[in-house]
């Protein structure tokens, strides 16, 4: 059975240089793009009343990093207050991404340091990658369904947001298919370590293709997955996904009540008497009812 590390060595030697160059380019675009947007925050007028009015760029960047791990963000409290459906969707993205990023950083770190990873850790990291990818994919399918199949009655968006969602889904989906192709040989014995990948592998095994075909398909899917992933990374700062960097700051600032206010319930959205709505129009009657039934001018 292959180790998690082997994914670093599957690229044929002649392709490694252009591959890593593409990866560096994507990373530069991501970091440069992020900085280009973050620097705009510093153009604001300091000293105005209101939360974080005197915060410098460094403080804001620190909040962006640290408040990602606040209860509001990790448990999507403000989202759940409005919609359970979207709340679970966000939870899938947040926890799935955290597990995925954590496992990748861990394995890359060990690989860079000593080309080896403790077996138990390798096992956990492998499972985390496998399950986290599936959780994110479920979240993405829910988001795609909400967007294209069951859009809310009130809805406004731009096509780039749909493109971003599709790109994200392709990146995750290709990763899972790649796992299936990688595990097409070992079959169910890999299930303890990569349960989803092994299930896919078992399904693919029924095609009974020769081993060299699996290998070629696996390599193709590896490049597809890397391409989608790097594209997503490079596109992040230029898309609405940039809210990943910004929204935890506004969420944190929303906990500050206006000056001179009485102690606000914390969090404000969970106070009593607040109706919960999934979606749709408000509770009031339609205008036609108001005017038609009660307006004098309609009599």
């Amino acid at each position: 059975m292959q180790s998690l590390f082997q994914s670093f060595t599957v690229i044929p030697l002649p392709w490694r240089a252009p591959f890593y160059a593409a990866a560096v380019l994507a990373l530069l675009l991501a970091v440069g793009g992020m900085w280009a947007r973050v620097r705009l925050w510093g153009l604001g007028r300091r000293g105005r009343r209101g939360p974080l009015s005197d915060a410098g760029l460094g403080h804001l960047i620190w909040l962006s990093l640290s408040k990602f791990f606040s209860a509001d963000c990790l448990f999507a409290r403000r989202v759940f207050a409005r919609s359970r459906w979207r709340g679970w969707m966000v939870m899938a993205f947040v926890w799935g991404s955290l597990a995925l990023i954590g496992a990748v950083i861990l394995s890359a770190g060990f690989y860079a340091a000593n080309r080896a990873m403790p077996a138990a850790l390798d096992r956990w990291a492998s499972t985390a990658l496998d399950v986290a990818g599936t959780i994110i994919l479920l979240g993405l399918l829910a988001a795609l369904g909400r967007r294209y199949l069951f859009p809310p009655k009130r809805w406004i968006s731009v096509s780039a947001d749909g493109g971003l969602l599709i790109l994200f889904a392709l990146a995750v989906f290709s990763g899972l298919v790649m796992e299936g192709l990688r595990l097409a040989g070992p079959g169910w014995e890999a299930a303890l370590r990569w349960p989803i990948g092994a299930a896919l592998g078992a399904a693919l095994n029924s095609l009974a293709l020769p081993p060299e075909v699996w290998e070629r398909l696996y390599l193709a899917m590896y490049f597809a997955h890397a391409g989608f992933g790097l594209s997503l990374l490079a596109y992040l700062p230029f898309s609405k996904l940039f809210h990943l960097v910004a929204s935890q700051i506004t969420t944190f600032a929303a906990l500050t009540p206006p000056s001179g206010a009485q102690a606000a319930p914390q969090p404000p959205l969970l106070s009593r008497n607040i109706p919960r709505r999934e979606r749709g129009r408000g509770s009031g009657p339609a205008l036609s009812e108001v005017e038609g039934v009660r307006a004098r001018d309609s009599q």
Partner: protein
């Protein structure tokens, strides 16, 4: 036709407000709560679009390309679209209250409007009269300044100097007199001496909210100095928009913290009730419901105090509307909408009154002169038994 963006689009926004343009996830939850959308059905006028368009403009104006190639030009049609979206809005802040990433839209819209005014695009329609009228008459209604205190009941004693001052506000003085009459009667019954500033000017909110801030600093200085000269330490304000303006924006235009405390009249009466100095003795047979004004609930978070006052009415029959407290619906009067789109604002007021009827209320209690004016106007076109009463007006009849 194109307009060159040769002004900064960011220098009047706080860093947090600039972050808001990057934080919006376009989840569209705000659309479910927009009272303007309830009536117009036009999604292009809603929060995600305002944020998207202005965010794009900022990135285009202040991005790296702009620093190399100079300020960009944008189609006038886009600026007109942004103007429609920004001004066809009561700035009620309900979208911000439900925002899943906590964007404070109530504070954001006026700052964006200020930039549209600077670009020569805003304000909208008859809103452009607000500035000249206020400059000439010290109120946005164009009413005679000499008549600002014409409503004052002769039996009410006003001190020359006192620690408690009362800022009447233009709407209370000219279009919702029962509210301020009720307020001064309540103050008198408490036995607390209070003073008025006989040359009181508009608080500047009607100008601030449409983005036309040219006169505001002068207005603020005049009013602050007038109340300071009368020895005021605690300034009572009955209008929610004035309360918000005085608490949140006056210190900035004044350039320092205010030398007095700002307290909404309902907060003051609630304090007096808690201290045992104010008691309501008469009952009312009606079933009451209460509308939280946008700038009182979401603006300055005075939410429990009005209910505490209503609860003092003996044997009161009170019911909450479906949309209440922080999530109350807007009556349509705010944000200068009643000036640039009066029909829309009246339609919104009718919806709110229909909500009050839906819970079986006989009387809709409000706590805002703008709501008072708008709902009485809307009442004119409806067949309904619903009564609209201001809380101070109600209170002054029950002690």
């Amino acid at each position: 036709m194109k307009t060159r963006l040769d002004i900064s689009l960011a220098d009047n926004l706080t860093p947090l407000q600039l972050i808001a343009f990057d934080a919006c996830t376009r989840c569209n939850e705000c659309l479910n709560w927009c009272p303007v959308l309830d009536v117009t059905g036009d999604e292009s006028l809603t929060t995600p679009e305002k944020i998207r368009i202005y965010g794009d403009l900022i990135r285009s104006r202040h991005g790296l390309l702009s620093s190399v190639a100079g300020p960009p030009s944008v189609e006038n049609g886009l600026l007109e679209k942004l103007k429609d979206a920004l001004y066809t809005c009561t700035t009620c802040g309900r979208c911000g209250e439900v925002c899943e990433v906590g964007i404070n839209t109530q504070q954001l819209w006026p700052a964006m409007r200020e930039k549209l005014v600077e670009l020569g695009v805003g304000p909208m329609g008859a809103q452009d009269q607000t500035g000249p009228l206020t400059a000439e008459h010290h109120n946005p209604y164009g009413r005679l300044h000499a008549e600002r205190f014409a409503w004052l009941p002769p039996e009410i004693e006003v001190a020359e100097r006192a620690e408690i001052g009362f800022y009447v506000g233009c709407s209370g003085a000219y279009v919702a007199q029962p509210m301020v009459i009720g307020a001064v009667r309540a103050f008198a019954s408490v036995g607390a001496p209070f003073t008025l500033f006989d040359d009181e000017w508009c608080c500047g909110f009607p100008l601030f909210i449409i983005g036309d801030n040219e006169q505001v600093a002068e207005i603020v200085r005049h009013n602050v100095e007038g109340f300071v000269a009368r020895g005021v330490k605690k300034l009572l304000v009955s209008c929610p928009c004035c309360t918000f303006m005085l608490r949140e924006r006056w210190p900035e235009f004044y350039g320092a913290e205010l030398p007095f405390e700002i307290v909404h009249t309902t907060q003051f009466i609630a304090e007096m009730i808690a201290a045992g100095k104010f008691k309501l003795t008469k009952s009312i047979p009606d079933r009451l419901t209460y509308h939280d004004p946008c700038y009182l609930s979401r603006g300055v978070r005075v939410i429990d105090e009005p209910r505490a006052v209503i609860a003092q009415i003996p044997n009161v029959d009170f019911v909450e509307m479906a949309d209440c407290r922080e999530l109350s619906k807007c009556c349509g009067a705010g944000g200068g909408l009643r000036r640039c789109n009066p029909g829309l604002s009246v339609d919104m007021a009718r919806r709110l009154m229909a909500d009050a009827e839906a819970v079986g209320a006989d009387t809709l209690v409000i706590d805002c002169p703008a709501c008072f004016e708008r709902m009485h106007l809307a009442l004119g076109g409806m067949v309904t038994d619903l009564k609209i009463v201001d809380l101070m007006e109600l209170v002054s009849e029950l002690f």
